[in-house]
């Protein structure tokens, strides 16, 4: 299977109907390297819960390097209403396999799995007018955006172009009981051939920075955006010192650090 032509990747108004298709899909079928030592207890088992999603409208500019938090700074703005910026939506969610297409080859001697359908279920608990308006929009089947997942385990999932929803819905649930609270349960279904790329991304989009002000309105106090945007990028402390920083100065970790994920702010000297 070939990659879709560039105009289908969704950079402008064209809408890839469903698939997230990494370039590696058609590469040589070589098993990649993995860790040689796996029998210890020192590696991290990441939490899996989905904590938020990023929704970038079709037509909005993608971040230059989706793995670099600094490149998201001007991509997300919850106060935007003309679909030129993305939204950061927080909740409690899961992302589970829903169904898959299997095809029989060679008279049934081989079976290959093709499109995999995954479903995001996320409960949105912070419900102001803006959240309700957005969720009601999902009820109308709004799908002109790409989305990425952020997990409690510090992962950003979705690759450079995000995932396209093939089905969107939201339900406003009013349960009985003294302890019950209002909740919007949103559902986004997406289809891909291969699980999207993911990266460690121990960055919080919350606060008065990247996500703008309160949902549906409010002023954006962009201090965090400005600060992150001004930080230089270095692989490690040594490179930062070589670049002119001193102990205590902040920088953004670049790709290539053996211990830290790219894109996180770090202070020289720890």
């Amino acid at each position: 299977m070939q990659n879709p032509p560039p105009h289908i990747w969704g950079d402008t108004t064209a809408q890839n109907p469903f698939t997230y298709l990494p370039s590696t899909q058609c590469d040589d079928w070589l098993l990649p390297a993995i860790a040689t030592c796996q029998d210890g207890t020192t590696y991290r088992q990441r939490r899996s819960e989905v904590a938020a999603i990023l929704m970038l409208p079709t037509g909005a500019d993608f971040p230059g390097d989706w793995e670099n938090i600094a490149d998201w700074v001007n991509t997300i703005d919850n106060t935007n209403t003309d679909d030129t910026k993305g939204k950061y939506l927080v909740g409690i969610g899961s992302f589970l396999p829903d169904s898959a297409v299997e095809v029989n080859l060679s008279g049934g001697r081989y079976i290959e799995q093709r499109e995999r359908t995954y479903r995001l279920n996320m409960a949105v608990l912070n419900i102001d007018d803006g959240h309700s308006a957005l969720c009601r929009k999902l009820q109308s089947g709004a799908r002109r955006y790409s989305f990425w997942l952020l997990t409690v385990g510090d992962r950003l999932i979705g690759g450079p172009k995000g995932m396209k929803p093939v089905r969107a819905n939201a339900d406003f649930v009013l349960a009985s009981g003294t302890d019950s609270r209002e909740v919007w349960n949103i559902t986004l279904t997406t289809t891909f051939l291969q699980y999207p790329e993911m990266t460690p991304q121990a960055i919080d989009f919350t606060g008065n920075g990247l996500s703008g002000g309160g949902g549906g309105g409010g002023d954006c106090n962009c201090d965090i955006q400005n600060l992150l945007g001004d930080l230089a990028t270095y692989v490690d402390d040594a490179a930062a010192v070589t670049g002119g920083l001193s102990t205590g100065d902040w920088y953004v970790v670049d790709v290539g650090n053996d211990f830290l994920p790219p894109g996180i702010p770090r202070r020289v000297g720890g």
Partner: protein
């Protein structure tokens, strides 16, 4: 996504190719003349996230570091969240709840702990009472350190991130009972916080 789990442990192996080096400790430990230190929590420092800087400078990376107090960084009279607050009371930290994960080959590891600090405040003038009532809102817009009677302060650089805070004002019915406020402060961490000599002790 920040998860408010304080990375209090440093130097842990990044993977199983890495070696955990145990630091040196005293060779002789069987004499009775060393001091056994008091454990009671006596002070709580709350740092609003909006304040500029920290209350301690030169926190360092080992217990031997000697941080210094940043002048004027604590001001209990400040009402703009621009300065840290210092509370004096009597407190304790019970055994934390632990999260243990299974690993292959029948191995397990404790990955994080949730620490409970219970801190009783006895000085309940009008302003302190009102302050603690505001704390009941449950906002986690602060970081904190705590100190013990032995002159140590505990935390990490920039302070510990809380997980939950609440205040209760118990009203006992005994003749000897007094008005107090009990702060319950929880935080998650990979291990116990770092310890330094408290420049404010």
């Amino acid at each position: 996504m920040a998860t408010a789990i304080n990375e209090t442990l440093t130097g842990c192996p990044a993977d199983c190719d890495d070696v955990l080096l145990y630091p040196a400790i005293p060779a002789v430990q069987d004499c009775p003349n060393y001091e056994q230190l008091r454990s009671q929590i006596s002070r709580l420092y709350l740092l609003p996230n909006t304040m500029s800087g920290d209350i301690f400078a030169s926190w360092g990376s080992t217990s031997a570091a000697t941080p210094t107090y940043v002048a004027n960084s604590i001001d209990n009279t400040n009402a703009l969240n621009a300065k840290a607050k210092e509370l004096v009371g009597i407190g304790e930290i019970a055994v934390p709840d632990k999260s243990t994960l299974n690993y292959p080959l029948l191995k397990t590891r404790t990955t994080e702990k949730r620490y409970p600090l219970q801190f009783t405040v006895y000085q309940l003038d009008d302003s302190t009472y009102e302050f603690l009532r505001q704390v009941q809102c449950g906002n986690l817009n602060f970081k904190f350190y705590y100190a013990d009677l032995n002159g140590y302060v505990y935390g990490i650089a920039d302070g510990l991130v809380p997980d939950l805070i609440d205040v209760t004002f118990p009203k006992g019915n005994a003749n000897t009972d007094r008005n107090t406020a009990v702060i319950k402060l929880f935080w998650k961490a990979t291990g116990d916080p770092q310890r330094r000599a408290n420049p404010l002790a």
